[in-house]
């Protein structure tokens, strides 16, 4: 039985964490993540959860405490945003290389400076090579759903990698929306008991985490991380399918929204996908063959599936909510271009950088993107293929 709730994205994240009831949660506040941990702290204070709640003095410590707890065999979580993620950077890589199945909501916010508390993806895009799985959420429902799935994905013995569940600061984190949540018993059964494969506290099977690992074995350990990430797509798909059987809401790594016969396809992540779907519906009603390719899992990135999804497109617009300074376009754009290389594809592709520091992306903006793409079929990628949406020049 689903429970219909009206929650902000942050409260939806805290609701999922209440039901997951991790053994250890370490926290340091940063806008816009603060309200999520505030709500979870209420659950701790009210005795709704058994989690050991560790208040630390920085995000570096938050991730360190989470890593320590996870290495000891605990199910451990934290959450952060932007500069908080930047401060935990060193330990973010360590969490992945120790193969610790930590789940962390990251509430997307622009990195300073100048200082800005609003949404863009510069924080999580910056650590796309850190070895974490990244699931981007479209709204409060997906925040909840992705967190419950992330636990199963991270802890799968073939994967054993940490998972970031990202959602757009303020746009999702501070917007109250209607969502369906599982009953507590169902959610707890779904998440299941955590039986760590390796644990510092298991003296029957002693293991070491993080010893010196020089020219002799470091490379092999990196290779094993690659294997964990390679196993992840099948696990994400299976977990998404089983979650669908439980809730009626199945998940995949990508979502093809009306792309099957689409001439013009835009690609996006996060909350913008919801706005884009609305515009796609309006333009379909006008007879335009348009579609959206939503990337839910940016890591692992599914290049073959992406190329397959874009096979019929005559023009492609890639929306990036972050900049990769000095590179040819944003991070999503580069992945898409790389995915299409060798895929016998000469479709024109335009990159649209948008929404930095919380700049709104409206239905008019998305319509304009489609109208610009409409001029491209049959011609090569234009010279001005890196464009900016809603920017004063």
């Amino acid at each position: 039985m689903a429970r219909r709730l009206t929650l902000t994205g942050n409260d939806a994240g805290a609701e999922a964490m209440r039901q997951i009831d991790p053994d250890v949660v370490a926290a340091f506040p940063i806008t816009p993540q603060t309200e999520l941990m505030h709500k979870f702290a209420e659950h701790v204070a009210d005795g709704d959860v058994k989690a050991e709640f560790v208040l630390v003095e920085s995000e570096h410590s938050a991730m360190s405490a989470t890593v320590g707890a996870a290495a000891a065999g605990a199910r451990a979580m934290t959450a952060t945003s932007a500069n908080g993620l930047a401060l935990m950077w060193e330990i973010v890589y360590i969490a992945a290389s120790y193969r610790l199945p930590i789940v962390m909501p990251v509430i997307n916010r622009a990195l300073s400076g100048p200082i800005n508390i609003h949404c863009d993806h510069s924080d999580t895009m910056g650590c796309r090579d850190s070895g974490w799985i990244q699931l981007y959420s479209e709204g409060a429902q997906e925040v909840y759903d992705n967190l419950l799935q992330a636990v199963r994905i991270a802890e799968d013995p073939d994967v054993l990698l940490p998972v970031m569940v990202t959602f757009d600061g303020f746009i999702i984190s501070h917007t109250a929306e209607v969502l369906d949540a599982l009953e507590d018993a169902e959610a707890r059964k779904w998440v299941g008991e955590y039986l760590p494969k390796y644990s510092l506290l298991n003296t029957e099977d002693p293991v070491t985490f993080g010893p010196l690992d020089l020219q002799d074995y470091y490379f092999e350990h990196k290779r094993q991380q690659v294997e964990g990430m390679r196993a992840a797509p099948d696990v994400i798909r299976r977990v998404g399918r089983e979650y669908g059987e439980l809730t009626g809401r199945p998940y995949d790594l990508l979502e093809r929204y009306r792309t099957d016969d689409a001439d013009l396809v835009i690609i996006a992540l996060g909350s913008t996908c919801g706005t884009a779907k609305t515009v796609v519906d309006w333009m379909r009603d006008e007879g335009k063959k348009v579609g959206l390719l939503k990337i839910r899992a940016f890591r692992p990135f599914q290049e073959k599936e992406v190329a397959e999804s874009l096979k019929g497109a005559q023009a492609i617009g890639v929306l990036d909510r972050s900049i990769s300074f000095g590179a040819p376009g944003g991070p999503v754009h580069k992945e898409i271009r790389a995915a299409l290389y060798g895929a016998d594809c000469d479709t024109p592709i335009v990159n649209y950088i948008y929404g930095l520091g919380g700049r709104d992306i409206s239905t008019d903006h998305i319509r304009t993107v489609f109208e610009e793409l409409e001029k491209l079929p049959g011609s090569p990628t234009p010279e001005d293929n890196i464009r900016f949406i809603g920017l004063r020049e």
């Binding site: 009206t6 746009i171 109250a176 779907k277 609305t278």
Partner: protein, 190 residues
């Protein structure tokens, strides 16, 4: 916006527009509708102009952008009438509800509008009398649902009861319920 009712709230920081925008969304959801409530976060400080937004629909809402063309505008502080673009983006038959002791005709003159439906209610006066504090958000909700027929009075009162069931004295809750009910009855059109 086709199929989606959009509402913009204008207030000054501390008047409860954030709470009202979210509470209306929650009350609508309790009646089986889909909704969103979100304030616009700037450099928050008491007294600074701020805006909140609510969307209500019979269908799931996927939009995650700001509201540019609201059918309804709710103004919690009449000193904003001359300070910000209150009617911006509203259609000719849009509704503007203002917390003020002025008449609806005076508000119309101040906004220099020929069309649109303008309603007034002294929500601050009601709040002082019934709650003991000049926070006009609850009575404004009462007035809003009366003039729009959006939700039943019971739906909003139930949501207020939930909101105030933790950490508030019973007289605060009772005061809010009285304030909503009075505003529901007293709101006036030009």
């Amino acid at each position: 916006m086709a199929g989606i009712l959009e509402i913009r709230w204008h207030a000054r920081g501390g008047q409860g527009a954030k709470t009202a925008s979210l509470l209306l969304a929650q009350a609508a959801a309790m009646e089986g509708k889909y909704s969103q409530g979100f304030p616009e976060y700037g450099p928050e400080r008491m007294g600074a102009p701020m805006r909140g937004f609510t969307r209500i629909s019979e269908e799931p809402i996927r939009l995650h952008c700001a509201i540019y063309s609201p059918e309804i505008v709710v103004v919690l502080d009449d000193t904003l009438l001359s300070a910000v673009d209150i009617a911006g983006g509203t259609p000719d038959d849009g509704i503007i509800l203002v917390n003020t002791v002025k008449s609806a005709d005076d508000v119309r003159k101040e906004l220099d509008l020929k069309d649109r439906k303008i309603f007034v209610i002294d929500a601050t006066g009601i709040a002082i009398e019934e709650i003991g504090r000049p926070i006009p958000n609850s009575p404004m909700l009462g007035a809003l649902i009366k003039i729009t027929g959006l939700l039943s009075l019971d739906a909003v009162i139930n949501e207020i009861k939930k909101k105030f069931s933790h950490g508030f004295r019973p007289e605060v809750l009772e005061g809010n319920v009285r304030a909503i009910t009075r505003a529901y009855e007293e709101v006036k059109e030009a």
